[in-house]
């Protein structure tokens, strides 16, 4: 499932050979934890192949027959492809700008005099402390005034603003560990801030950017609250919003929701695997510093 090039693999912990006992003692917690993760998820996976009746009568068992009816219903009946497209558009656009704008702010923070940098850092990360529930209604009114309601652009703008604090928070922490001398030397050699940022800082921060990217992707992809408030037309709805339709007041179509959850997870798994590769590159880049 996951392809990896092991050639670039570098041992980074102790280089001593690991003996068999140690190997086994390493695997025990890993296997146990993996089971803890996978068993509940297996329930979801199984449930997505059941009818509601089967789920109610035998919630834990293996489906009697592996009917993909729920998936067919999901994609045939609904505008699922449109919802996927909308989610992709909103997520990719948001994450791109979150990373770009966030990493630029982080760069400025580490290059500024300490006091100014810290104040800016504090101001931006303050946003992480605000509970989303409290600014919902004022945000809604603001978008309404700007005529940005029921548009992807409004949703994207709010998402960017909401996630910049987390992005800056993670990236600044990492960028602060970069060797300052290296950046100064480049400036003395005549490089502009933009060059230092794009040619040195970004490549060196790839592992951190990859983690931030994954964070932002997952949060944006699964965000329910903002689309719920800002999107009205069904042609503009995102996946989590669309899945709400299967949740009834008294009768929730769990198998359909679970089928939707499985389908919605696949793009994120692919994105995860994609960014996962950056860790290796980042590791190589990181070892240059020493």
């Amino acid at each position: 499932m996951i392809r990896k090039n092991t050639e670039t693999d570098v041992t980074m912990e102790n280089i001593k050979p690991i003996n068999i006992n140690e190997r086994i003692s390493r695997q025990v917690p890993l296997v146990a934890y993996t089971l803890l993760i996978l068993l509940p998820l297996t329930l979801v996976f199984f449930a997505s192949f059941k009818t509601l009746k089967q789920l109610y009568n035998d919630p834990l068992g293996i489906p009697e027959k592996w009917s993909i009816l729920n998936y067919i219903r999901l994609f045939a009946n609904e505008n699922m492809l449109i919802y996927f497209k909308n989610s992709f558009f909103v997520t990719f656009t948001s994450v791109f700008f979150i990373l770009l704008l966030g990493s630029m702010i982080s760069y400025a923070i580490i290059r500024m005099p300490n006091v100014v940098g810290n104040i800016l850092f504090g101001f931006v990360t303050l946003g992480m402390m605000v509970p989303t529930q409290v600014k919902m209604i004022p945000t809604y009114v603001l978008l309404s005034d700007l005529n940005l309601l029921n548009k992807h652009s409004g949703l994207i703008l709010v998402t960017i603003a909401t996630l910049i604090p987390i992005c800056v928070f993670i990236l600044t922490g990492f960028m602060k560990t970069l060797p300052k001398g290296l950046l100064e030397a480049a400036m003395i050699d005549g490089a502009s801030h933009w060059q230092v940022y794009s040619k040195i800082v970004i490549p060196l921060s790839l592992p951190a950017i990859a983690s931030t990217a994954i964070f932002s992707f997952v949060i944006t992809w699964n965000d329910l609250l903002h689309p719920l408030l800002f999107i009205k037309s069904s042609s503009l709805k995102t996946l989590p919003l669309a899945l709400l339709q299967f949740q009834g007041e008294y009768l929730t179509d769990y198998p359909m929701i679970f089928a939707g959850v499985v389908a919605a997870s696949i793009p994120m798994i692919i994105i995860y695997i994609f960014f996962q590769r950056w860790f290796i590159q980042g590791m190589t880049a990181g070892s240059m510093k020493g």
């Binding site: 996951i2 801030h193 329910l224």
Partner: protein, 291 residues
């Protein structure tokens, strides 16, 4: 000075969006904490500090929520940090197997918290659920509990789900941190004949401190602000045993139609987070290297 001026162009685009779409609505919400607005009607009155006075002097649910918040936060921060650190170290090497494990640990993060809630409602469900059935099958009947129904356990059952869902997520930060440690330092440690523990204590841990700071601070905020998961599982029950501040202010605003009061809760909520964050940074600073 000139070189700093150029930096403002790095800041401006992001900060403009942040101020317009984040700070501005937040401030207008906070202004409402001095009013009696119900969240619906076109008009409201200015009431000064009445909401704050009521909240701090005469609201048992507020006290209960803060204590639930702290219980939840402490258990999540301790266990999520430890678990993610242990697994990050075990999985730091980029072997095929490790990459697979990392992906598995990350899986729950991919699913939205609402879906995670669905899953665990099924797992915890006393009669048709799986957890008690598994415990019973293993002969561990004494461990069977009313996971979400017992006032003393429910908040911890939810904290467990939170860790389950997010340990793999913050593990990524630790792994990124581990990968940033120069390989040469390990060489030196090896040449000097350091034991594994010594290597961890003197090389890995100090250099991992920035990542640890990020993980702990992020987890603290994430657990303090937890919302979707609890809303979808217990909605604060039974008898307010899992009501935390975010849920409390949500209920006041959208169920009880007390938006002004809810805004006051939000202000106090942010002050508490700010205090916790500052204390935390102070504590972690002693651990810090070149931060």
């Amino acid at each position: 000075m000139k070189k700093y001026k150029a930096l403002s162009f790095f800041i401006l685009p992001g900060i403009i969006f942040y101020i317009l779409f984040f700070i501005f609505p937040t401030i207008s919400a906070l202004g409402l904490s001095f009013t009696d607005w119900n969240g619906l009607s076109p008009d409201y009155n200015f009431v000064g500090f009445k909401n704050y006075k009521l909240l701090l002097t005469d609201d048992p649910i507020f006290i209960k929520s803060v204590s639930n918040n702290l219980k939840y936060m402490f258990s999540v921060v301790v266990f999520q940090t430890l678990i993610s650190l242990v697994f990050a170290i075990l999985l730091a090497k980029n072997t095929k197997l490790n990459v697979f494990y990392r992906a598995v640990l990350f899986l729950p993060t991919i699913i939205s918290s609402v879906s995670v809630a669905f899953v665990w409602i099924f797992v915890y469900e006393p009669s048709i659920g799986s957890l008690n059935a598994v415990l019973s099958a293993l002969g561990l009947d004494f461990l069977i509990k009313s996971w979400l129904g017992d006032k003393n356990i429910a908040i911890y059952s939810l904290a467990f789900v939170q860790v389950w869902a997010h340990a793999g997520q913050v593990m990524i930060i630790f792994i990124a941190g581990l990968h940033a440690i120069p390989k040469s330092l390990y060489e030196v440690a090896r040449i000097e004949g350091a034991t594994k523990w010594q290597t961890f204590r003197n090389v890995t841990w100090p250099l991992l401190a920035p990542s640890a700071t990020i993980v702990i601070a992020y987890t603290t905020l994430q657990s303090f602000k937890a919302f979707d998961l609890i809303l979808a599982t217990t909605d604060g029950g039974p008898s307010y045993a899992t009501e935390i501040l975010s849920l409390f202010l949500y209920h006041e605003a959208f169920n009880n139609f007390k938006f002004g009061y809810s805004s006051a809760i939000a202000v106090v909520f942010m002050l508490i987070i700010a205090v916790i964050t500052i204390v935390q940074f102070r504590l972690l600073k002693s651990n810090k290297v070149n931060y």
